[in-house]
Structure formats: C-alpha cells, structure tokens
C-alpha cells in the first residue's frame, strides 16, 4: 500500500558526484554522514540523528538553530542499494504547528563514468491550505530564509 501524500508541486534536483553509487547511497542511511550533510545548517547544532534503516522504519533528525529546534521526520518506503531510496518526509519547528501530511522524497542514483549522478525528487511540497499546515510550512520557509 502506498501512503497518500500531500497534493502539491514536485521539486527535482540533479547532481553529479565523484563517488561510487554505493558510497553515495550509504551516506543517506549512515548516521555519521547524515549528521554532517542532511538538513545541517551553518551555525546549527545537530541534536538527534536516529535512523532505523529498513522499509517502514523511521528516522528522526533534530537540529538546534538558535532558540529553535528543527525537527525532520522520515519514513523509509524503499531501500534499494545503491540505486533507489524513497522516504516520506515532514518537517516542523518544535513547539510550532505540525504539518499533518507527508511529502515524498525519491533519491535515484545512476553510475556516471567514474562517478554517479543523483536525482532528488520531492513530491507534495504544496500542502493543503489548512491554517495549521500553512503556518508550519511558512515557518520552515522562514527559517530556510535565515540560513
């Protein structure tokens, strides 16, 4: 069964890395790597990185940004090393409004010469306009603008 996600826009990014697909893939599930790259912001302090790297498993990544804590929740839907990782994703500021709906992120990795190309697709980034949700996302976007 596929988890329904927020109806919304899709954001896609493609990037080439000087690393094997395996190395690139593993970075997304290794707590030491995740701590350093995923949702880390300059000046922020990573508080929590908990990863349960199996299909249906959850991850919790919390970063302290000044007096705010940014909380990121992930739920893994597909783990196909080294080519495909799919996870549900939502984010909020601790103590702030919570986004009810999941969005979906797909990380696709293909070999590219002596490196690998990564395509990240984020679906559902346009949550419905329930006030609670809207405020939550507005806050996240505001905190992004602070970066």
């Amino acid at each position: 069964m596929t988890q329904p996600i927020a109806t919304g826009r899709t954001v896609t990014l493609t990037r080439r890395f000087a690393a094997t697909p395996e190395r690139l893939f593993d970075a997304w599930l290794d707590p030491a790597d995740v701590r350093r790259f995923l949702f880390a912001t300059p000046g922020g302090e990573m508080m929590t990185v908990e990863i349960d790297p199996r299909v249906g498993g959850d991850a919790l990544i919390v970063e302290c940004r000044g007096d705010r804590q940014a909380l990121h929740r992930l739920r893994y839907e597909a783990i196909e090393r080294p080519h495909r990782l799919v996870f549900l994703f939502k984010a909020c500021i601790v103590g702030g409004p919570v986004a009810d709906e999941w969005t979906r992120v797909t990380v696709a990795i293909v070999p590219d010469g002596d490196g690998a190309q990564l395509t990240l697709t984020h679906e559902g980034v346009w949550p419905d306009f329930e006030d609670k949700t809207r405020e939550g996302w507005t806050m996240i976007l505001a905190s992004l603008a602070d970066l």
Partner: protein
C-alpha cells in the same frame, strides 16, 4: 495571501494547453482566436482557458475593436518560481554538503 495566489498560479499552470498559451503570450499580445489556433480548439474552449489564466492573474485582457487581446502578467509567475527555488535551495544545500563530505573523504584517501 501569497499562498492563495500561489495555489491559483500552480492550478492554472497544471494544464498543458494553458502553459502553451502562456508561451505564446511571452512573445507578445494575442487575441483569443490566435491563442486557440494551435490547439484546433473552439473559441469558447479557448476562452475558458483564458478565463482560468485571468483569474490566476497570469494574464490580462483588453478590448481592441471587436477583438479581445491577452497579455502576459509576469508577477505571479515570478512569485511561483521564487517559491519553488526556495525548495531547490533547501535540498541543494544538503547536496552541497554531501559533495563536500565526499571530496574530503577522497582527499584523505589519497
């Protein structure tokens, strides 16, 4: 509300015919009849799409004799683009750090 405007913009853009019409209008003013032409569409059919674009504020209409001329309004498009760019940046920054992490690792290995 910025959010409601964005919603209207994205809803209007969610249709290939309307995106095509906007592309035509980016070259200059067009009548509704001219906008309908590439789609082998009736005037009434084209007028419906034009109305959606107009409600979203993506175009404006003016009367010129017996014709109605449509013109592109860029502001809502720029707003929608800026919003998507914020998300691009959100993920882009994580990918930047991943790149740095891997580069550092390779330097240590050599």
């Amino acid at each position: 509300m910025v959010e409601q405007r964005l919603d209207a913009t994205f809803a209007a853009l969610a249709d290939p015919t309307r995106r095509g019409m906007l592309a035509q209008l980016s070259a200059g003013e067009r009548s509704i009849g001219a906008l309908a032409e590439p789609y082998r569409m009736s005037f009434a059919g084209a007028a419906k799409h034009v109305a959606v674009l107009e409600r979203a504020g993506l175009i404006e209409r003016r009367k010129a004799g017996r014709q109605q001329l449509c013109r592109l309004r860029a502001a809502p498009l720029a707003e929608a683009e800026a919003w998507l760019r914020q998300w691009q940046r959100f993920w882009g920054e994580s990918l930047d750090r991943l790149e740095a992490l891997i580069a550092e690792e390779q330097e240590r290995a050599t």
